[in-house]
Symmetry: C2
Subunit: 98 residues, 2 copies
Amino acid sequence: MTNLEKSMESLIMVFHHYASEDKDGKTLNKKELKKLIQNELPSFLKSQKNANVVDSIMKDLDQNKDDKLDFEEFIPLVVGLSMACEKCYVLHEKKGTK
Amino acid sequence: MTNLEKSMESLIMVFHHYASEDKDGKTLNKKELKKLIQNELPSFLKSQKNANVVDSIMKDLDQNKDDKLDFEEFIPLVVGLSMACEKCYVLHEKKGTK
């Protein structure tokens, strides 16, 4: 498997690892989302000053307002964070080559 | 680093590995995109019957029509493939538990 394929597989496996904690194994409820963010995105969580960050994220991502996130609704969180990280990476690279 | 963080880092590193092949290290031109798809998404490439698949993908992703893809323009390819893979994973899991 290539690095990009591994990366996509890992995204799917992480989502399903947390989504499968309740009976409905295909979506994240708020408790599962909280656990995922606490365990998988600890640096991001620390950077957030809002105490209700998980509530805010759930509200932002839950497109159909069913209080659950399917993979499609979850993905924008990863995309947003990846884009932010990439911007930092580019800035850091620039500094490094100066 | 957590699995999700590693996965996001890997996305960024793969993009920049191919983007840095020409002078403009921050974007993929068509040649770099082709190389990325050939090396990193070989199974996807095999599944495509359209001989001009790289041209089609470039056209679809290149939002500002500058014949280059920045990370933000590239990400929808990964998202689309991940969502397709996740649907297969869920179907496969369903069969497994029957």
